[in-house]
């Protein structure tokens, strides 16, 4: 069996794939948040940033396909692992006792599924723009006169819908909770964690997750609250 086959067919291999794809997606959501925070700057900043990404052309598609592959592997392997885990303990104990497994670690599948549902909606809404084809028009002129997509207006209009904003806040909240276990767990699975620096790692995860949630939630809240307004 080749290396990929062995990774997909052994318990530790599957965990390794979960950790690696999780690490990639952790990096992506961090970068995505940093990009999104430009909504608090003048509109030309985030519009120029969006244009820069879209002008990568084939490179952008390579990154997108790589990220999509990571999501698919992460979900596919998670399903396999969960099924194997249920089969390994078909009869539960009469007394349900937990020593120290965190709640976040015990609801990974559930938080992950909500995030997945949001991801699909989010891609349809903002990437494919199925509901609002007008968001695809190049209606914004940069300083050099280049006409680009108006990402700023898309975000303001998008999050002016309270239901969408609420779903977004719920999803980033659950994603933060997912990461609260995931960030620490992936370091253990990749084999680098030990007691000597676990406290530091857990501290980082806590600060990161709260920061990730609050900064993400700030975007729709600022739009709904009128602090970030449409520029046209």
């Amino acid at each position: 069996m080749n290396i990929l086959g062995s990774l997909f067919n052994s318990s530790i291999g599957k965990k390794f794939l979960m950790a690696l794809t999780g690490l990639v997606l952790f990096g992506f959501v961090t970068g995505h948040l940093l990009g999104n925070l430009q909504i608090f700057l003048p509109p030309q900043k985030i519009n120029a940033y969006g244009h820069m990404l879209e002008s990568l052309g084939a490179g952008l598609w390579l990154v997108r396909l790589f990220l999509l592959a990571c999501v698919l592997i992460h979900v596919w392997v998670a399903i396999q692992l969960t099924r194997e885990n249920s089969a390994a303990r078909p009869v539960n104990y009469g007394v349900d006792h937990t020593n120290r497994a965190s709640l976040a670690s015990r609801v990974m599948a559930r938080t992950g599924l909500v995030v997945l549902a949001f991801l699909i909606y989010h891609l349809l809404d903002f990437t494919l723009r199925v509901q609002h084809p007008e968001w695809s028009q190049r209606s914004f002129a940069l300083a050099d006169g280049t006409l680009v997509r108006d990402v700023h207006t898309m975000m303001v209009q998008g999050f002016s819908r309270p239901g969408v904003a609420l779903f977004y806040i719920l999803a980033v909240g659950l994603l933060s909770y997912h990461l609260a276990h995931g960030v620490v767990s992936l370091v253990q699975t990749l084999g680098f964690k030990n007691e000597r620096w676990t406290r530091g790692l857990e501290c980082f995860a806590r600060v990161y997750c709260w920061g990730y949630f609050l900064l993400n939630a700030a975007i729709p809240l600022a739009i709904l609250g009128g602090w970030v307004k449409a520029h046209v």
Binding site: N2, I3, S6, L7, S10, S11, I12, G13, K14, K15, F16, L81, E84, N85, A87, A88, R89, P90, V91, N92, Y93, G94, V95, D96, H97, T98, N99, R100, A101, S102, S105, R106, M108, H181, V184, S185, V187, Q188, T189, L190, G191, F192, K193, N194, E195
Partner: protein
């Protein structure tokens, strides 16, 4: 029930025990009241006393696994109130004393539950899956020589201490029983690390970890979710840091086994 000093207050508890006549029949919980319990009795002694009563009344005694009763053999294997090896930290079931319980407690006693550890009878489970994992790689082939030879192979104190921590594993299976996924990772991690940290364990290091993990997977254990329920109940306090070490060892061995060149004259004499 047993000799006790007047200062020790005797009390009563109820044992709610899983009874299952054989692997094929469904089991159920049965309550057994126990009176005049001394706080100095061990938990297994209480089971002995309850069994004496059952035997006298011609009932089938509760089957439970036990041997050394001093926490070194790993035979005793009850789950007490949902926790393998019961209350306390770093102890096996045989080291649990009745002073850990209160008068009037209902103590729920169950077998370890895992597909890989099928129930034989009542509280006794078949744990030979661990033996199979050991047979797959829990050994060395290096000649270790006599005592003086041991001094010729230098082992750093840090490695020796760490290897001894892992070697403390008594193979009781509590890690599997406590894990939400019935994973055997702590056991395998301890066995792999115990030998992998020693110079004598190096020749088979990669083969060992690959074979032991493969045997573990085939035995029907679950997967590690890094919740560390295992190390919380380990009677030898083996740390889950060994699981991180196992993960690292396994992935490294996997890549080496696939990418390293193989001698074209493999198997031939030289």
């Amino acid at each position: 029930m047993v000799a006790s000093t007047p200062s020790k207050k005797l009390f009563s508890v109820t044992l709610r025990v899983w009874r299952q006549a054989n692997p094929d029949q469904p089991g159920k919980f049965v309550d057994y009241p126990a009176h005049n319990v001394s706080p100095d009795m061990s938990f297994l002694e209480l089971l002995d006393v309850v069994n004496d009563g059952l035997t006298v009344s011609n009932a089938e005694p509760i089957a439970f696994a036990h041997d050394c009763r001093e926490g070194i053999c790993g035979t005793c294997s009850c789950t007490i109130n949902g926790k393998p090896h019961g209350p306390g930290k770093g102890v096996a079931t045989c080291q649990v004393y009745m002073r850990s319980f209160q008068a009037g407690d209902v103590i729920v006693v169950e077998p370890f539950r895992a597909t890989a550890f099928p129930i034989i009878k009542d509280l006794v489970t078949e744990r030979s899956a661990f033996d199979k994992i050991q047979q797959a790689g829990g050994f060395i082939s290096a000649r270790t020589g006599a005592a003086p030879d041991a001094n010729s192979i230098l082992v750093s104190k840090a490695d020796a201490d760490l290897a001894m921590d892992a070697a403390a594993c008594i193979g009781c299976g509590a890690c599997v029983a406590a894990c939400k996924n019935a994973s055997a990772m702590l056991f395998v991690a301890a066995k792999v690390s115990h030998l992998g940290l020693m110079p004598q364990g190096q020749p088979e290091r990669d083969r060992r970890v690959l074979a032991m993990v493969q045997t573990m997977d085939e035995a029907g254990f679950g997967n590690c979710t890094n919740q560390y329920e295992c190390s919380a109940v380990c009677p030898k306090n083996i740390t889950h840091d060994f699981i991180a070490r196992l993960n690292r060892d396994y992935v490294g061995a996997l890549f080496r086994s696939k990418l390293q060149p193989v001698s074209t004259s493999a198997g031939g004499g030289a």
